[in-house]
């Protein structure tokens, strides 16, 4: 489903973020990307949403080389993916309902679909009573659950979570991971980038360790946080 072939990425300041990365992720997998800051975890995720393009190599999703996508195709790719960020990246001027609805509306959903699906998903993430709350009226954990609801609403094939627990306490972190596991059980591929060893060790799924832009270890089953 997702394939990185000899991928190299260098940022504008000449920082080599990825060096010759080869990786294959199958549909329905739950993959934890671990490693210290600057290891290249976020770069791997940003390549998948076409925020950046590799200098060398190819990134493929469902057999399509992302470098071949035109500007108009990029939103279509992003609609196949749900993304969760450490800093939540919620729309501050929109309330919980509208934040989630936006992701559904861009996919062309009708008003009726939006009105029936959004409250359901907000209920699933435990924000049924916060439908009209704005992000600034929510706690960190609630914001992240809202970001998960937004990532889920259009039933994406892939969920990318870039340090989703980075700004949360342990209780909220476990809640977020439980939600991600539940989503994965429904068949969605989940890629979780984190440096939280306790979280990773509790998941017990595939763990890919990265360091200095390279994959240094790939534990396909019952992976643990090892650098």
């Amino acid at each position: 489903m997702i394939e990185y072939r000899n991928v190299c990425t260098t940022y504008e300041d000449s920082f080599r973020a990825l060096s010759n990365v080869n990786l294959h992720i199958k549909e329905g997998e739950f993959v934890s990307l671990v490693g210290p800051s600057g290891a290249g975890k976020s770069t791997l995720i940003r390549l998948l949403t076409r925020e950046i393009s590799p200098d060398e190599g190819q990134v493929l999703v469902d057999g399509v080389n992302l470098a071949d996508l035109s500007g108009g195709d990029i939103p279509l790719l992003r609609r196949k993916i749900g993304t969760i960020f450490q800093d939540f990246r919620l729309l501050s001027n929109k309330n919980a309902f509208e934040n989630v609805a936006f992701a559904l509306e861009v996919c062309g959903a009708s008003k009726e679909e939006v009105e029936s699906d959004v409250p359901k998903v907000l209920g699933i993430v435990g924000l049924g009573s916060k439908v009209k709350s704005f992000p600034h009226q929510m706690s960190g954990g609630e914001k992240q659950r809202l970001a998960i609801a937004r990532a889920l609403i259009h039933r994406p094939k892939i969920i990318l979570a870039d340090e989703p627990t980075g700004n949360l306490d342990m209780v909220n972190s476990y809640d977020v991971v439980k939600l991600l596991l539940k989503i994965n059980e429904l068949g969605t591929t989940v890629i979780l980038a984190t440096h939280n060893d306790k979280i990773v060790n509790s998941i017990g799924r595939r763990v890919i360790s990265m360091d200095s832009g390279k994959i240094v270890r790939d534990q396909v089953e019952e992976g643990k946080y090892i650098l």
Binding site: P75, R79, R89, L91, S92, F102, V106, R150
Partner: protein, 302 residues
């Protein structure tokens, strides 16, 4: 399509409403811009009135020798009236000239006594000629000089007035040209100020735009509500401008009329109210929408 337009409209309106401080500031700047446009229109109207009243005051008079008969003068009047560049020709007989002279010097006893002592009327019959443009007097004078009745004409006061006519022409031209340049320069400054204000407003929302892109929003889906928001700045700014501008000219117009009796600013803006309102709304909406479109472009490249 209808649902999509409704969604765009409602997103734009919500954005406008929820960013109330930003919207207020941006609308305020746009009000200043539209007031400046309106003031420039008023100045343009007043300067045109100044030019036309100056031109109105310029004419030439051909004075006839005392042996010229009224019939001969009327023939010349008919000839001159036929010229394209002539707006009006007025015949003033010797008697009328005397009456006029007496009336205008009614309070001057010395002149009145001198006139009473004269046996005959010393004043000449004349034709007062008014041209469409001040620049056309030369050709009218040339025509009169070449006329078959030239021998009946004693003098044409164009030569005395030539310098005044040239000066009026130069002032009129200068007012129109410099007025246009000044209007354009101020309008450009106003547009730039307005554009930068909207750019800053959208710059404040750049993170939101990036997020919308990352969750799969197409450029149009993201851009359209901002265009609506830009248009709303224009609509509200136009309404506020009208609410301020009309009372101001209502108060200023009578005072200006003391200085320039033929220039009723209120009359001008009332008789052209529909065009003016259309212009203010169009300028506001276009400024808002175009500025938003240009400003948002760079943030859509995520």
């Amino acid at each position: 399509m209808k649902e999509s337009l409704k969604r765009i409209w409602s997103a734009g309106w919500l954005n406008f409403k929820r960013n109330s401080y930003l919207s207020l500031g941006t609308t305020g700047v746009m009000v200043l811009v539209l007031l400046l446009f309106s003031a420039l229109m008023a100045i343009n109207f007043l300067s045109l009135r100044v030019v036309s009243s100056l031109q109105e005051k310029v004419d030439i008079t051909a004075y006839f020798k005392s042996n010229a008969t009224e019939e001969e003068i009327m023939n010349i009047k008919n000839d001159v009236s036929g010229l394209e560049e002539v707006v009006r020709v007025e015949y003033i007989s010797r008697e009328q000239a005397l009456e006029g002279f007496k009336a205008s010097h009614a309070g001057d006893i010395l002149i009145q006594e001198s006139l009473a002592e004269l046996d005959s009327n010393p004043l000449q019959a004349s034709l007062n000629i008014k041209a469409t443009e001040t620049s056309q007097y030369v050709s009218i004078v040339t025509y009169l000089e070449a006329n078959k009745f030239r021998s009946l004409i004693d003098k044409i006061n164009f030569y005395e007035n030539e310098e005044v006519i040239r000066r009026v022409e130069s002032i009129s031209g200068g007012l129109q040209n410099w007025g246009f340049i000044l209007t354009m320069a101020l309008a450009l400054v106003a547009v730039l100020v307005n554009f930068n204000t909207i750019r800053l407003t959208i710059y404040n929302q750049r993170q939101e735009i990036e997020i919308m892109k990352l969750v799969g929003g197409s450029s149009w889906h993201i851009k359209a509500p901002y265009l609506v928001e830009g248009g709303l700045y224009g609509v509200f700014a136009a309404i506020i401008t009208l609410v301020i501008f009309y009372p101001v000219i209502y108060l200023a117009s009578p005072k200006l009329e003391i200085l320039m009796p033929n220039a009723s600013l209120m009359g001008y803006f009332v008789s052209n109210a529909l065009q003016y309102i259309f212009l203010v709304f169009s300028a506001g909406i276009l400024l808002g929408v175009i500025s938003s479109a240009v400003a948002i472009k760079r943030f859509l490249k995520v």
